[in-house]
């Protein structure tokens, strides 16, 4: 049965052993951390973690290997207390070896004496831990310092970002778009809406950050946070180029992010139904309207406005209004509006018209609504002329019309009458009537306005006069203008055109055709080579004789102009300058990554919206990255791709000479052939 002293001694030895284990572990751990510190600084996150784990394993191994046994501990106690005279060792051996025991009284004496000796010595003297703890502390400090230097001041989180600078860009779209901010980590390219605010956060060593865009350069100092912060508003295509400055900045920390700016386009709106101008028999009609509008982001409003036009000549009146629409919103970008528009309240008379157009607007602040094509609904009247200036047919179509064309169309309409429905036939006849009136209007304009009271052609003679009109046109009559045969024929043509138009409106197409052909004959008479058509000039058109024939013939001499020597367009010259710098790079590729980044920026600066320059910039950025990673073949290939993109741009701006220069051989061959040809020219039998 073990005595109390023996138990106490055993416990004491166990405690000392455990202390020795801890000290050994600390020593081993300290040694491992001494190695882990430089690994953390140069290797980064993963190597640092691995090194720390290895340190722990090293500590455990050291603990297992180097922890002294109880015997050694006993010997140390003996060394510290020489007066013990081996009693502690004896007690330890007795406890450990279970050797043949001496008599009980002797045992008690040994344990008691050993217990006294052991109690008198502190554990710190037996198993000193100062050195181990100190070493561990120093190793931990080195580890932390390495981590701090590796990232930036502020914390262990920097360890997780790796060797290169980390950049976060927060894109805040314009408020009217009602979109949430978007955060992008380490973007290689940004596509944002115009007006977006880009908040750039760069985590990198250095004292300050230089941020360049196409428009400006900012230098930002490090604030309270660990990262540099700068803001840029994206108004047009461009780039973000940033690098850190200062002693701690990396030599190759130039980064380039192309920025493409998307524009909020204006909406598109069309009047799908009826989709054309309408000629109405009266004002008590109803028009079915369908309007379609689309936008790239979101529509805000869709309306239909009209202008009521009544009157003629100089006495037009205009009344504005709006037609209510029933809107169907398929989504925010596609709307459709419908209405059954009753024209009766507008009280349109013959000759009146309404011009209507749809307006759509999106959410762009301050943007004007977009209008659709304007359409006309006209209440026809005999002899009326379709009004100009309300977005009618393009000018080209007017020139394409002629009386012969009107006749042709009328003949075709008559031929197709049996196959057409009556309302379609009437509509077609009305359209030809509109064209007939346009042709007539051209001749009326040419004559300076129709002389309403000119003699009727059909049964008129040269001596018939309208006395009232004659009195008004006395001077013209005296000048002989009224008896001009060509003018008379032209007036007759105009009259017949009017009759034709009226018959077409009345859907008497056969009679209209007769009048049209008569009008054509009279036009041919009027414009024969022996006719001279005269018309009076309005006052403002009178010739200024003081400016005519007032010069000296001798002053009419040759004019000489200088010719400026043309040069290549500016963008082509700038692109050539870029390639000259690329040419210098080709001979020193391994050390050219920084210059390549600058070239990439220059390419974007030259043409941020030009696809070929964007491609060149992208390729040169990739080349710089490859060269930094010692992948020179990939770097050369990317450099070539960028150069080829710029060359395509230059090719667009330069002229190409086809074929090669003539050599003397070709000249001689040409001479010989030419000499033969002189003997027998081609084409002669």
């Amino acid at each position: 049965m073990a005595s109390a002293d023996a138990v106490r001694i055993a416990d004491r030895f166990a405690a000392l052993h455990r202390r020795a284990q801890r000290v050994a572990f600390c020593e081993g751990l300290a040694g491992g951390l001494f190695v882990a510190a430089p690994v953390t600084f140069w290797g980064g996150v993963i190597p640092a973690v691995v090194a720390c784990i290895a340190s722990v394993v090293c500590g455990a191994a050291w603990m297992r290997w180097r922890t002294p046994g109880r015997g050694i501990i006993a010997l140390r106690i003996e060394q510290l207390d020489p007066s013990a005279r081996n009693v502690v060792v004896t007690a330890e051996e007795l406890l450990r070896m279970h050797a043949p025991t001496p008599p009980h009284a002797v045992l008690e004496q040994i344990f008691a004496s050993a217990g006294q000796r052991i109690d008198a010595i502190s554990a710190a003297r037996v198993v000193p831990a100062t050195r181990a703890v100190t070493a561990l502390g120093v190793a931990l400090m080195m580890l932390v310092t390495s981590a701090v230097w590796r990232g930036s001041a502020g914390g262990a989180g920097l360890l997780l970002r790796g060797a290169d600078a980390a950049v976060t860009v927060r894109v805040s779209p314009p408020k009217y778009l009602k979109r949430s901010d978007e955060t992008v980590q380490n973007p290689t390219r940004l596509t944002v809406m115009r007006g977006s605010t880009l908040t750039v956060l760069v985590s990198a060593p250095g004292d300050s950050l230089e941020l360049r865009t196409a428009a400006a350069v900012q230098v930002v100092r490090r604030g309270t946070s660990a990262a540099f912060t700068a803001q840029v508003v994206a108004d047009s295509d461009g780039f973000l180029s940033y690098r850190t400055l200062g002693a701690a900045a990396s030599e190759q920390s130039v980064h380039l992010i192309p920025v493409a700016v998307s524009i909020d386009s204006a909406p598109r709106v069309t009047i799908a139904a009826p989709g054309r101008d309408l000629l109405l028999p009266n004002g008590r009609q109803s028009i079915g309207l369908t309007i379609r509008a689309t936008d790239d982001i979101a529509l805000q409003a869709l309306t239909l406005r009209y202008t009521r036009v009544s009157g003629s000549g100089e006495r037009f009146t205009f009344t504005e209004g709006e037609v209510p629409l029933v809107l169907t919103r398929r989504n925010g970008r596609e709307w459709e509006g419908r209405a059954q528009w009753d024209l009766t309240p507008l009280k349109l008379d013959a000759g009146d018209m309404v011009v209507y157009r749809a307006l759509a607007s999106d959410q762009r602040p301050g943007a004007l609504p977009v209008e659709s094509d304007a359409l006309i609904a006209e209440v026809t009247s005999p002899g009326g002329v379709a009004a100009a200036g309300f977005a009618l047919d393009p000018e080209q179509e007017r020139y394409a019309l002629s009386e012969q064309m009107v006749i042709l169309k009328t003949e075709r309409l008559l031929a197709a009458k049996s196959k057409m429905a009556s309302d379609s036939f009437a509509n077609a006849a009305a359209e030809i009537a509109v064209e007939q009136r346009r042709v007539r209007a051209e001749f009326v304009f040419m004559m300076g306005g129709e002389m309403e009271d000119a003699p009727q052609v059909d049964d008129a003679s040269m001596t018939d006069l309208n006395e009232e009109a004659e009195a008004a046109g006395e001077d013209e009559l005296a000048a002989g203008r009224m008896v001009n045969r060509g003018r008379v024929a032209l007036l007759g043509a105009i009259r017949n055109m009017s009759r034709a138009a009226a018959d077409l409106t009345a859907v008497d197409v056969a009679s209209a055709l007769t009048h049209e052909k008569t009008a054509l004959k009279q036009l041919e008479v009027a414009f024969s080579h022996s006719r001279i058509i005269l018309r009076a000039l309005a006052d403002h058109e009178r010739l200024d004789l003081t400016r005519r024939l007032g010069g000296a013939l001798s002053d009419a001499a040759r004019s000489v102009h200088s010719v400026a020597a043309p040069s290549l367009p500016g963008d082509a010259r700038a692109a050539l300058a870029l390639l000259r710098d690329v040419q210098r790079l080709s001979v020193q590729l391994p050390s050219s990554s920084t210059v390549l980044m600058e070239l990439a920026e220059r390419a974007l600066r030259l043409g941020p919206s030009q696809p070929l320059l964007q491609r060149a910039s992208q390729q040169w950025t990739a080349a710089a990255t490859a060269i930094r990673s010692k992948q020179f073949a990939a770097g050369q290939q990317a450099l070539d791709e960028g150069a080829l993109a710029v060359q395509r741009l230059i090719r667009e701006a330069t002229a190409t000479s086809g074929g090669g220069a003539t050599s003397a051989d070709a000249a001689i061959a040409g001479s010989v052939l030419d000499a033969r040809v002189r003997v027998k020219p081609a084409g002669r039998p």
Binding site: H561, L568, V582, S657, G658, G660, A661, T662, V677
Partner: protein
């Protein structure tokens, strides 16, 4: 039984005999066959050098191998598919090891006039590209990628690839073409050319104003490659001039400085003016571009050697007109054309349009723009009379079209003096030929007095250079000279002075330069057969030693030999003396 003492005496005597013979050192006359010498020459491809290494390994054990052309070789083994000049140096039997065919650059050439303000075509002939295959041709200028085109294989495995260069700056341009298939070694060829910061001189003469000529003149005035001088006769005695044009067209000397003359309305020119224009082409070698608006007069017919009828066609809708030799996108649209019923002999059609069939005529191809030689010059005739009307039509390139045509005409004009160097990209020490063309003599029928012409080889930076020896060629107006490329890498100029003018050509010297080398397998086979050799495939080269032995004529010669000088006599001497000593010892005598 042989007594031991006898044996000892024989051994002793033999040893003494060896010693005495060694002292006497007799010389013996013998008939000896020299070891055959075989020269192994390889082509320029990497595959050629790899195969040549295998050949050398096979031959080393049986013959003496020389890894270079050797005039006294007993046989020559050539590994490759392209004919090389070194094969001319030996008349020995030629054995050709024909390795697998691959893509090769047969030729690369560009215009003599490479201007910095425009794009100059570079034409490359590629061999070894069968139909259905394609390869990428990349053009570099002084290391910078300049152009890239995909070459498509054809039925005869030859593709003509059109690349182009816009010089980055004036001076020598070192061009390199790399043509590669999807895998494998690319075929490479080098070329050097001289880019000049110069402009062609163009005269635009309009006997009366016209829409077409006005718009053409305007686009020419925007061409950075041209110095345009123009005269438009707006009325009798009244002209509108830009620059200082010649007073009169009939003054040939006044037209001589120009490279190209653009005329409109030839029907309004006088006979004297047409004669002056003709003299410009014949005696100066200049180019004339005529813009027709109607059938031309008989005087122009006389100029082109044509006396038939002219045809005229107006189309309802404009059709595209594409100028050959330019990019496919260089098109204009026209609807009104004038052309001769029969093209004059030697005429080259530059742009043709296809018109659809009509009631009286089937679908046909109309020569809208064509050219014909007139003496040493060239006349370009444009019968597309209304391309100006569609100049703003999307898809057309009115400016590029007319700039391309007039540029082609200007580059066709003969310069007063022109020097070319062949090849222009060489290795140090390679043979180079210089060729000089004197226009005055060429076009003067040999009657023009030839002014002294000198040539120098200078570095690109300038400075004193080495004079080159020249000799007259059998061809009229042509002077040639041969020299060796300098030993130092760099860019050089061959500068020629004469006839009151100077011209230069570029020469690039670098050990990495590669000349174009096509596939001459058929020619090599014939050459091998003619010299008594054979053609083998790569798989058969192991049989080379036997094949060589059958045809090589080994030379026997009588020579002296000293057999006793061999150190191996020490061995029998030692053995004999040792045996003698052992025998005596065994016998108790030692």
């Amino acid at each position: 039984m042989i007594h031991a003492s006898t044996v000892r005496r024989v051994a002793r005597g033999a040893a003494v005999g060896i010693v005495l013979l060694a002292i006497v050192d007799p010389a013996i006359s013998v008939l000896r066959y020299d070891a055959a010498v075989v020269a192994v020459v390889q082509g320029s491809r990497t595959a050629d050098s790899v195969a040549a290494s295998d050949v050398r390994n096979v031959l080393h054990s049986v013959v003496r191998v020389v890894e270079a052309p050797f005039t006294s070789a007993d046989a020559v083994v050539y590994v490759g598919r392209a004919l090389v000049p070194q094969l001319e140096q030996s008349a020995a039997p030629l054995f050709v090891v024909e390795n697998a065919p691959s893509i090769a650059v047969r030729a690369i050439e560009t215009s003599h006039d490479v201007l910095t303000a425009g794009r100059t075509p570079v034409e490359v002939v590629v061999q070894g590209l069968p139909p259905g295959n394609s390869a990428t041709a990349l053009l570099r200028s002084t290391g910078v990628a300049t152009d890239r085109v995909d070459a498509q294989g054809t039925a005869d495995a030859t593709a003509l690839v059109g690349l182009g260069i816009v010089p980055l700056e004036p001076g020598v341009q070192s061009l390199r073409v790399e043509v590669g298939a999807r895998t494998g070694e690319p075929a490479i060829a080098d070329l050097s050319t001289l880019a000049r910061d110069a402009r062609w001189k163009a005269l635009v003469y309009e006997p009366h104003p016209g829409w077409g000529s006005t718009f053409v003149r305007r686009v020419l005035e925007q061409d950075a490659r041209l110095n345009v001088v123009s005269r438009t006769v707006t009325s009798r005695g009244i002209t509108r001039d830009a620059g200082v044009p010649p007073a009169r067209l009939e003054q040939a000397a006044a037209l001589a400085p120009y490279d190209v003359v653009v005329l409109s309305a030839p029907e309004a020119l006088t006979a004297a003016e047409l004669s002056g224009v003709e003299h410009f082409m014949r005696s100066r070698g200049g180019s004339v571009v005529v813009l027709l608006e109607q059938a031309p007069p008989a005087a122009l017919d006389r100029l082109v050697g044509y006396s038939g009828a002219w045809q005229h066609r107006s189309l309802a809708t404009a059709v595209p007109v594409h100028l050959r030799g330019t990019q496919s996108s260089t098109v204009v649209a026209g609807g009104d054309f004038v052309w001769p019923s029969v093209l004059p002999p030697g005429a080259e059609v530059l742009a043709a349009v296809t018109v659809s069939a009509q009631k009286s005529s089937p679908a046909r191809s109309i020569p809208a723009i064509w050219s014909v030689p007139v003496g040493g010059g060239r006349l370009f005739v444009s019968g597309a009379t209304d391309t100006w009307k569609a100049r703003a039509v999307p898809g057309t390139r009115f400016s590029q079209f007319w700039q391309g045509l007039v540029g082609q005409a200007a580059s066709s004009a003969l310069p007063a003096l022109r020097v070319t160097v062949s090849p222009s990209a060489v290795r140090p020490g390679d043979a180079v030929r210089v060729r000089i063309e004197d226009r005055a003599v060429i076009l003067g029928g040999g009657s023009a007095a030839r002014s002294p012409i000198s040539a120098q080889l200078v570095t690109e930076q300038g400075g004193a250079g080495a004079a080159l020896a020249l000799r007259a060629s059998s061809r009229r107006g042509l002077i040639e000279g041969d020299f060796r490329a300098p030993a130092h890498t760099g860019n050089y100029l061959v500068r020629v002075t004469g006839s009151g003018t100077t011209d230069s050509a570029a020469l690039g010297v670098a050990p990495t330069n590669r000349a174009p080398a096509g596939d001459d397998a058929a020619l090599l086979r014939r050459l091998a057969a003619a010299t008594g050799g054979e053609t083998l495939s790569e798989r058969e080269f192991a049989s080379l030693p036997g094949r060589l032995a059958r045809v090589m004529q080994r030379k026997a010669r009588r020579g002296e030999t000293h057999p006793m000088r061999s150190p191996w006599w020490m061995v029998p001497l030692a053995l004999l003396l040792g045996f003698e000593w052992w025998s005596r010892r065994r016998s108790g005598l030692a």
